[in-house]
Symmetry: C2
């Protein structure tokens, strides 16, 4: 039985753990399905398809190439180690497959530019798999921080993403291996903080990026924790901190002249179908500076589909438009992905230069 022709047909390239969550999302999204999975080991691919409730018609391959050569595959999801992204994303694009690329998307912006050029040249959609961008909460938070009366001019952003990865991870995970994920914590989780900062600043690039003097490395030189301050053209300041060595925490706080907003589960909502955020506007000290007025409020945003399924749905909608209506690709996603990578690179450069300020020339 062939897959529903109206659905975007995904091939999964690589059986990383995160691919389990994204496979579920592809199957949850109403406009997508999975038609193939490829691993270097056929057994692994077969087991992955079975364990993740793939449609019976889905094919399992013992190579990545086979997925790219499958004419039924419209789009690929690439959860490979970062150092393999350039090769496989470019190849996928050349084979006219739309590319949903796991983050960090590349080792540096030079690589990413090759990937984006290949996608552009083939007319395929590119998107990075930054799931939280697609939660309806994200849009509602943006409405609040764009409100001139209740929020006002952006002044400062702080973001943190950490998890205590544990001994096994620190010894064995691809994210701490210099040949696989050379960006370490900066790429794996700092990516989200940087995206959050860019999101809050309407995707303006910062003027200067200065890594904070506490970066920690493993013996191979891979970043285990780091932070940076980012200065924007209008004087706004952003700071972030990411770590494989601190308790699981994922926050954004955004300060405006007239308002303040915070979210404590921005990367992965604590609850799958609701996402809270907290805000306050035009806050003043109460009489005698005892307490404040008004009190902060919680705003709960519901979602029928989890954010990763909404990501797939959005990506598949764009792919569908290209397939069915010969539309052009949506430039927003490659643009913000590239800006995120530019800042990742600047943080890395600042660390490498002994925490000097790095200017961003766009």
């Amino acid at each position: 039985m062939a897959a529903d022709p109206q659905k975007v047909r995904f091939g999964i390239i690589g059986c990383a753990n995160i691919a389990r969550k994204v496979s579920r999302a592809i199957l949850l999204s109403p406009n997508s399905t999975i038609v193939a999975v490829g691993s270097r080991s056929l057994e692994k691919a077969v087991a992955f398809a079975k364990d993740n409730n793939f449609p019976k018609s889905a094919k399992s391959y013992g190579s990545y190439d086979a997925v790219l050569d499958d004419s039924e595959v419209d789009a690929v999801y690439l959860p490979l180690p970062t150092s393999l992204h350039l090769r496989w994303a470019v190849l996928a694009a050349r084979k006219k497959k739309h590319v949903l690329l796991e983050k960090p998307v590349a080792l540096n912006v030079v690589e990413l530019d090759e990937i984006l050029a290949a996608c552009e040249s083939s007319g395929v959609q590119y998107m990075d798999a930054t799931m939280w961008m697609h939660h309806p909460r994200t849009a509602e938070m943006k409405v609040f921080i764009s409100d001139p009366q209740r929020f006002g001019q952006l002044k400062a952003v702080h973001s943190i993403f950490s998890y205590n990865s544990g001994t096994d991870f620190l010894n064995n995970d691809i994210r701490v291996k210099p040949d696989l994920d050379a960006l370490g914590a900066l790429g794996d989780i700092g990516w989200y903080c940087i995206r959050a900062i860019l999101w809050a600043s309407d995707y303006q690039l910062p003027k200067t990026v200065t890594a904070l003097r506490n970066a920690e490395f493993n013996k191979a030189g891979v970043i285990l924790s780091c932070g940076a301050s980012l200065l924007f053209p209008e004087g706004e300041l952003a700071t972030f901190y990411c770590s494989f060595l601190g308790n699981l925490t994922m926050e954004i706080s955004v300060l405006g002249a007239n308002g303040y907003m915070r979210v404590h589960d921005f990367v992965i909502p604590f609850h799958e179908n609701t996402g809270p955020f907290y805000m306050n506007a035009n806050t003043k000290f109460a009489e005698l500076s005892i307490g404040i007025e008004p009190s902060p409020t919680e705003h709960l945003v519901k979602t029928e589909l989890p954010q990763e399924a909404l990501m797939i749905k959005e990506f598949s909608t764009l792919v569908g438009k290209i397939k069915e209506h010969c539309s052009g690709t949506e430039k927003k996603w490659p643009t913000i992905s590239r800006k995120t990578q530019v800042v990742v690179d600047a943080v890395k450069a600042s660390i490498d230069k002994g925490f000097e300020a790095v200017e961003i020339v766009y």
Copy 2:
């Protein structure tokens, strides 16, 4: 009618707005009372005493000296502009008055050392008026962040204190006048963030302090907003941001290897008799990285007396011990006040040096 001799008898030097809150606190605290208030204007002193429900026996003076010369005054509260602290705190100490000094305590640590030496030499108690130190919540938060299992090694601290001070303040308030409060926002509110960072790190001093590249100044060169990163000997990182130009916000977040804690009203609790904080320990991603386990919890700490009255009670207890039992002074308070000032000075120095890292040599 003389004041109850068992109570510590306060003289208030200067009728600043904050003195209203502290006067109320002195009257709320069971072991203190107000016996005098001095202003450069007698009318102001008389009106202040009346407006703030001073005991009828309290004296109003048209000078600060008169308060210091009043033998009934055991202790003075000094809410004068910072540039006047050195003169009046030293004079108060020489006249054997215990000194409760509003923050920022001095323009720099050289001045503060003169004040502390004068207090030490006269055997009078010194304390700065950092109210939140005295809320029982502060002690309970400390218990959590000291727990080796639930919190573990300290990794990162972030603190923010801002308020949108408004045009009138920015034109007229003493806190933006270079001759009165030359430290501007750094002294007025950055003080609290720095204290929070030192509190979280068990009053270790940082190794280096680097101001963040976004400091804003008024035309007279007074700091309106600034931030800094602080690197501690064990590699812990702290950042803070303070601003007269952002919505009223006052937060600490503290990340440990195994736990996380945050508080959103650390300087002035939103509600006078309860203070919440939020914590999570040993947090893991749930299966498929959908959600987390366990969820963060809110911990509410009640207090019978507001934190500023607890501050007065603690100060008065120490003064009472000195008066009645000839005890020595409690060194904790001058010690942490001095460390806070050392870091304030380092941030200022870093700003003045164009955001270079400043080493702290203790």
